[in-house]
Point group: C2
Chain length 328, copies 2
Amino acid sequence: MVIAKKWIYAKAFSGYPTADNFRLEEETLGELKEDEFLAEAIFLSVDPYMRPYMLQYPVGSVMIGGQVAKVMESKNPKFPTGSYVHGNFGWRTHTVCTPSVGDRKPYVLPDFGKEPLSLGVGVLGMPGNTAYFGFLELCEPKEGETVVVSGAAGAVGSLVGQIAKIKGCTVIGITGTDEKCEWIKTIGFDHAINYKTADIREELKKMAPKGVDCYFDNVGGITTEIVRGRMNTFGRISVCGIISSYNEERAKVIDPQRDFVGKQLKQEGFVVSRWTARWMEGIEQNLKWIQEGKMKYRETITEGFENMPKAFIGMLKGENIGKAVVKV
Amino acid sequence: MVIAKKWIYAKAFSGYPTADNFRLEEETLGELKEDEFLAEAIFLSVDPYMRPYMLQYPVGSVMIGGQVAKVMESKNPKFPTGSYVHGNFGWRTHTVCTPSVGDRKPYVLPDFGKEPLSLGVGVLGMPGNTAYFGFLELCEPKEGETVVVSGAAGAVGSLVGQIAKIKGCTVIGITGTDEKCEWIKTIGFDHAINYKTADIREELKKMAPKGVDCYFDNVGGITTEIVRGRMNTFGRISVCGIISSYNEERAKVIDPQRDFVGKQLKQEGFVVSRWTARWMEGIEQNLKWIQEGKMKYRETITEGFENMPKAFIGMLKGENIGKAVVKV
């Protein structure tokens, strides 16, 4: 008999989450039925999307999210005991999973070689594929172009900048501390702007004298308004997230439509699940780039399942560098 | 010796243009050189784009614009005397044209059959191609989808709605008078909203109960903010113009990026010259639809070259229905 711990969405989010939005509960899991397996969480993901997405769920739901887990017991030959899987099981230590149920299927992790399993919720999982597909498919960067990435020291942004470098672009990252600015330059960004202390508009004039061709947007709001104003004709914008407004009112911005006409800009928002059919392509390519030394990653690991809310809140406040992960 | 009349951009635009922004001048034209021809304007176009575009030109320039003209004399065998041409000659009665100079080449009008020559600056010219390419290429409408068009009784919007009907869509037009609402319904729009008297949000809920798939935007601003809020996942927005802000400050709108992510929207702005290589395709298709009775057009014709400013100002104020044209 297995007792699972799980974090419950105890009170609806309003503004920045606090401890009282969450409640830790226990649940006794039953016997496995045919096709099911029992998974034990090893690494859990905390991601920005959880903040807006939870608003769609009733209070009392388990917090949503992906995890790397070990199969402890199985009645499904595709998920043998001892294998490592990725599953969207939510904030739980143990899960009885019926793989045939639900949209977002669990999968056995491919061989990561010498790389740690935690990457299954990072560069070799959802954030990695978000960067890979969301940037390459929607921005269609060309060699010699100038790329701006907001949220540049985060799990996704830090990878987008490196993929842009691999594709031969000049890359400017926008992030919120000097430490983050330093770090993204060590992994290959050409320039970094601390939006809390610098004038983004003036910096972009200097760093991108020929204008901006691609913008990978993690933040929205005023930052995006300013970057859009520096874009070139036929510029492409991939909208991944809107961290600037997850915990606050959406900003009022200058009507963007004029820039779209005058510069013939293209903008597309996305949710990475649209590339589910190509999921392993993204993981394999990112792993290859890591093994070739072309892609670096960084994780901010919080120890202890009991610290899930703390890790989540810290991530929303930008305290992490790279991917925020919780180790059970 | 030919004396041309021409309208000069006498004072920079600020707010709605008035008579003192323009000055009528005369110019004596010289002898034709090799490859040149002399054209006499028959129909001149006044279009919304002229308002923002003129800001790029110094005061003292001739007002820009397209016209249907007759070749009166020619030293270029491709433009024989007596032929009818379209040229971006500006607001002039007579022009000596060197076809090899400039980006936007003059062309001999194809045979319009029984249709009037004025259509060469309308449905069988730039506005027609704006509707044809800007809608079909960027919105990619599918049968059964719901399409919203703003500026729906204008030269472009009225055609977009009809093309959407030809493609099997449900079409909602947004425009500014009850008379315009009535007219667009007579040419096939399923629904019409008078944005000056109706609540667009509430009307769209009723008229588009399954949401909006495509939005062809001529206006920007608050109208666009509201339409975007009713769009479906994978909705497409083609941004053609921003009439709402040509003569006024750009409105502040709610940061649109969240809608883009959540609904995976795609938006692209355009200038119709990007389809120059396919120009005749658009004219031929629109002519075919007219001859088949599938596309109606309407013109608001102002008589007299001396009334160019009046026609232009009236068009910017929405006094025209369909295409605003000046007959010399």
